[in-house]
Amino acid sequence: MKQPSGTLARYTVGARVNHWVNGLVLVLLALSGLALFHPSLFFLTGLFGGGILTRVLHPWFGVALIVTFAGLFFRFWRYNIWDRTDTQWLNRIRDVLAARDENLPEVGRYNAGQKLVFWLMTWLILILFVSGLTLWEEQLGSYFTIGQKRVGAVVHALAAVSIIGVWIVHMYAAFWVKGTTSAMTKGRVTGGWAWKHHRKWLREEAAKVQR
């Protein structure tokens, strides 16, 4: 397949499909979870065919999420290892938010913000999964004590709100930094985007092309 010149490959088809299925499941989980979390959002159960079906489906969405996220985790974890540049980048978060890129260190495939989103998603999904097991009354009710279920309910609610927050950051960053979404839709980004936001990665990719 011929690629437009001056663009760089960022995500394979497999990674993109994996990402969007994962994203869809996460949205379904958030909607069905919020429906059971706050009475004023109970109307959201209508999206899933009523309260009973929402209750039945939500934990299965959770199982689906663990599976799809495992795919993303094993694809991307090695690009998300924290290094010293990430700490420098994070210390200049004011410059990041003001788009003063000239004050920031050169960034590789992922910047510190993206790495934080990755690790927060990883840990929160694990916490949500384990705490969710204690709440799965239909399948696992008899395996947990009431005390464990109460702790599970609080942890699950707090982690769920946190992950929705992380999700908002993820969405907003992709929306704010123009040129980002094409990485996940077309699989490619422009050279200019890479130069501006991931210069070290651009240099690495350029060196590869040269060889």
Binding site: I52, T54, E137, E138, R150, T190, G192, A206, V209
Partner: protein, 300 residues
């Protein structure tokens, strides 16, 4: 029983706000006088009978409880405890377990389904099956470990205090069946008075710690016990000494809900403010030019 006429006006309903204030109704109560109970299980049978429930034939584990715990069908269960007192006396303490119909019901507080758990103005707490979604949150909310999830239809069941009988001026089936009048039913004031007399009698008989179990931690209950040893309710098959809605449930169903939604809303708002102040983060033509040069000559 004309005082019970307003039995089915709603006072509280799960996951529902902005309910019209309920009219006043006379609070009712069931009084279980443990000192008069002979453990015959007539109440247990009457409960199954009236509510058209059947229990599978169980197995004998060498004890009197049958079944061994409350189930989705057994809404009331006789629990038998052999307790050796300090003076060497062996006491056989029999307690009729079941929903206590708390004035501040933890089940109702935990329930996410509108109208699945209601409290009538007379104090009864009832599960409305057609609104129940089977999530089991009530099980976590209850300080007495009462609601049971049915494996047959995935809905939760417990004692209704025979709300259907009370609504038409009858007492609950268990009270009707009790041969020793250990189970009484009437207004909460009458039952408290009656309990007072029984407690006086018991004290005269030497039970210095006799008392009424109407725990204030859950706002009082509409099922009360007369206990010979009210100072140590735990000896009656783990009747909780100071039951209250778990602080975890309060946290989960209290501040967490509004703060979480406000937090999510705030995050979204910050995004909008940031975008309006900073504008889109766009790639300039010079960036593309730099990139082109780098791709052509990586060493530069």
């Amino acid at each position: 029983m004309s005082v019970l006429q307003h039995a089915l006006d709603l006072k509280q309903s799960s996951a529902t706000s902005g309910m019209a204030p309920a009219g006043e109704a006379v609070a009712v109560a069931k009084l279980i006088d443990i000192s008069r109970c002979i453990g015959c299980k007539a109440c247990q049978s009457a409960c199954l009978e009236w509510n058209e429930r059947r229990e599978e034939v169980g197995v004998n584990t060498g004890y009197y409880e049958n079944p061994h715990d409350l189930t989705e069908n057994t809404w009331t269960l006789m629990r038998y405890a052999e307790v050796e007192q300090d003076n060497g006396d062996l006491e056989w303490l029999i307690r009729k377990d079941g929903c206590m119909h708390c004035a501040d019901p933890g089940c109702l507080k935990a329930c996410p389904a509108p109208g699945a758990i209601v409290q009538y103005t007379n104090g009864l707490v009832d599960f409305i099956s057609e609104n129940c979604i089977g999530c089991g949150y009530c099980i976590k909310g209850c300080p007495f470990d009462i609601p049971r999830l049915s494996q047959a239809d995935q809905k939760v069941y417990k004692c209704t205090l025979c709300s259907d009988r009370v609504a038409v001026g009858q007492g609950p089936a268990c009270a009707k069946a009790c041969p020793t009048h250990a189970i009484m039913f009437g207004t909460k004031a009458e039952m408290t008075d009656w309990a007072g007399q029984r407690i006086e009698d018991l004290k005269e008989r030497g039970y210095q710690n006799a008392g009424l179990y109407d725990p204030p931690g859950v706002g009082g209950t509409h099922v009360m016990y007369v206990l010979k040893h009210a100072d140590q309710p735990e000896i009656y098959s783990n009747l909780p000494k100071d039951p209250q809605i778990s602080p975890l449930v309060d946290l989960w169903k209290g501040v967490t809900k509004p703060f979480a939604l406000a937090g999510i809303g705030l995050m979204a708002l910050l995004g909008i403010v940031h975008y309006v102040r900073t504008g889109p983060n766009e790639v300039a033509p010079e960036d593309e030019e730099q990139a082109r040069r780098t791709l052509e000559n990586p060493k530069s």
